[in-house]
Symmetry: C2
Subunit: 392 residues, 2 copies
């Protein structure tokens, strides 16, 4: 069957706040082929990804993403990779294309799962799915006292692990960060898995990151995530040599397989964190999972949006029994909850199970989505090249 249509829906909270919360908007993707429909999601900057879908061609290696999608045959999983390769070649000089492709790739896996009546993780070659230990993913409080309350609340909800990130962390003094870390550990209790996300706050400043290592060790942090931007391979590596039991974690900024491979090869990572909504979808995420296994690095999903994105982000390592930690955002804005009819929730033992329904196992909720749908129109030379499509 051939791909008949690709629809992009820009969803947003009525007001987007200047905080590190990625669930405030979303770009929902619908792909239709024959009698089947698949849903996906691109991470961040919906308007820009819409523009990259439909923009006029600049030259032969800078085509709109849609030019490599519509009319393509989609019958088995090899077609998804072929289509991804087409996009990467035809849109080589269109920087945004990797993010745009990501949501389409995810939707194609969902579509094929429905057609073949299999969950995506089976289509990826896994025979079984293994439960994951979700970490509650939250922002640091504005104060250490607020962080303490957040941590207590997470522990009370039965989570075995929590990640604190962004907010004021790394922006003021080492002492202030120590207070934040101590509060997180205290609230979580002695046995909780504590993860820390610096959100690239030190860019490439090795000394600033080093100054926090002592306290990270004291609070027994399992990992320090994104002390630097993704490209700072030598800084990551240098920090890893001094970080002892605190593992380096990073990779969410990678927008192709090569970038993730470089982080595994050169950055001294213990955990490679991949956002399926950015790196080129489930296809490339699975490539990274395979590479991580081969290199003895632990794969972790990165996701901070809806449960559709969460399911997509879990599929690539669903069958890796020893890669247990998974990101599970718990402070989602109402939009990210309302988007889907069903949700992925931890069981009584606090463990998360990748859906075993066909495709991604997550159904969009049109009634829930409608209030958040953003009306967009793009006109070039007087001709409308994009308008928000009907939900269908």
């Amino acid at each position: 069957m051939k791909i008949d249509s690709v629809d992009f829906y820009y969803l947003s909270m009525p007001e987007v706040l200047d905080i590190g919360d990625g669930s405030q908007d979303a770009l929902l993707v619908r792909v239709a082929a024959g009698d089947y429909v698949g849903w996906g999601e691109c991470e961040a900057a919906p308007l820009v990804s819409i523009a990259s879908l439909v923009c006029p061609m600049s030259h032969s290696a800078c085509k709109p993403v849609i030019a490599s999608i519509i009319g393509q045959e989609i019958n088995d999983v090899n077609d998804i990779r072929r289509i991804g390769n087409l996009v990467r070649a035809n849109s080589l000089d269109l920087l945004q294309a990797d993010h745009t492709l990501s949501g389409i790739d995810i939707a194609l896996w969902d579509l094929l799962g429905h057609r073949l009546n299999e969950p995506v993780w089976k289509l990826l070659g896994y025979k079984s799915r293994f439960p994951k230990t979700p970490y509650a993913s939250v922002l640091f409080g504005d104060t250490a006292a607020e962080t303490l309350q957040k941590a207590k609340s997470i522990a009370a909800q039965g989570f075995r692990a929590a990640k604190f990130g962004w907010g004021p962390f790394g922006l003021s003094t080492v002492e202030a960060d120590c207070d934040q870390l101590a509060a997180a550990r205290e609230g979580l209790g002695k046995n909780g898995i504590l993860l820390v996300d610096a959100g690239t706050v030190w860019n490439t400043d090795l000394d600033a990151a080093r100054a926090r290592l002592k306290m990270l060790k004291e609070v027994n942090a399992t990992w320090l995530e994104e002390p630097f931007v993704s490209g700072a391979l030598s800084e990551y590596h240098a920090l890893s040599l001094a970080s002892g039991p605190v593992g380096m974690a990073g990779g969410e900024g990678c927008h192709n397989f090569h970038m993730a491979k470089h982080m595994v090869d050169y950055a001294g990572l213990k955990y490679v964190q991949i956002d399926a909504g950015r790196i080129g979808g489930i296809t490339i995420s699975k490539d990274v999972a395979d590479y991580a296994v081969a290199k003895g690095v632990t794969y972790v999903n990165h996701t901070f949006t809806s449960n559709l994105a969460l399911s997509a982000s879990l599929q690539p390592f669903a069958g890796l029994e020893s890669h247990t930690i998974c990101e599970f955002p718990t402070e989602l804005k109402s939009l990210a909850r309302a988007m889907t009819k069903n949700h992925i929730v931890p069981d009584k033992a606090g463990l998360l199970h990748v859906p075993d329904a066909p495709g991604l196992g997550i159904e969009p909720d049109f009634e829930g989505i409608a209030p958040y749908l953003v009306d967009v129109e793009i006109r070039v030379r007087g001709k409308q090249i994009y308008t928000t499509p009907e939900l269908r």
Copy 2:
């Protein structure tokens, strides 16, 4: 003084052909501060970069690029780096942002050059500019016979060097590529510098690239450019070990300093090719030039658009006496010529001189531009967030 405005102008040929010619459209950037104006250019996908300039915020690390520009103080060159760092932090998750920033960074250098009455290369710290040996940059002909004619014509124009790229090269048989290479060498004459650009055609296929090495050596090619995508560091490195006198060249796909550094560090490059319109502007290009000097790699500009972009791409290595080869596109579409009042042309000895007028030394030609200006309108929630500004 403060930055008062940033205007993006989308220019295009009436018809854009499906060929590897990047001069078919352009995104012209105007920045105004106090009494001064600077001009720059972003490479490729104008509509997408426009969207990334003005899109609604997704979260604190995914802001529209303009949010980090308007109102910023711009008094000396340190401000340009500070503004670039702001964009990279505030638009961390907006993939297109590096391309968008590039044109703004270039315009800021031009603006400051006008204010300080100095050419940009002096502001970059160079005391002198040195002449460059331009290579005529053209596409391979559809047939070897056509390539032969192109090469003869280039030699007749007095060029000492020529680069052939894209077109059919690498897409069919090794024999066909050998014919193309032989034709290029024959037309250029024995002493001409012959450069070959594979345009990432082999993606990561080391064997396909290796199969062309023998012929590249036979025709005495100075470099093989982009046999692979920019991220394929280990493939580049493996090929470099077998390429003998044929140097590896690459880097145009890099959209930040780190990617270029990785290519220098890990890919076995002899020539690092940087597009100032993609990597984050003149600021980051100069960082790469400095790094290349430190590592014994030769810096080369990448540019395939207007003479404004050409001047911007030459500034970062204007003062490097031994880095002589420079890209000089000679098959520009009418748009790319009409855009500017003055042009950079080789002297009688066939050498190119970086302008020594203030700023970039290139003046936009409003009358020339007007016929190519593309009318764009973007509306979000019924509100117009972008419309093509008046040329001023």
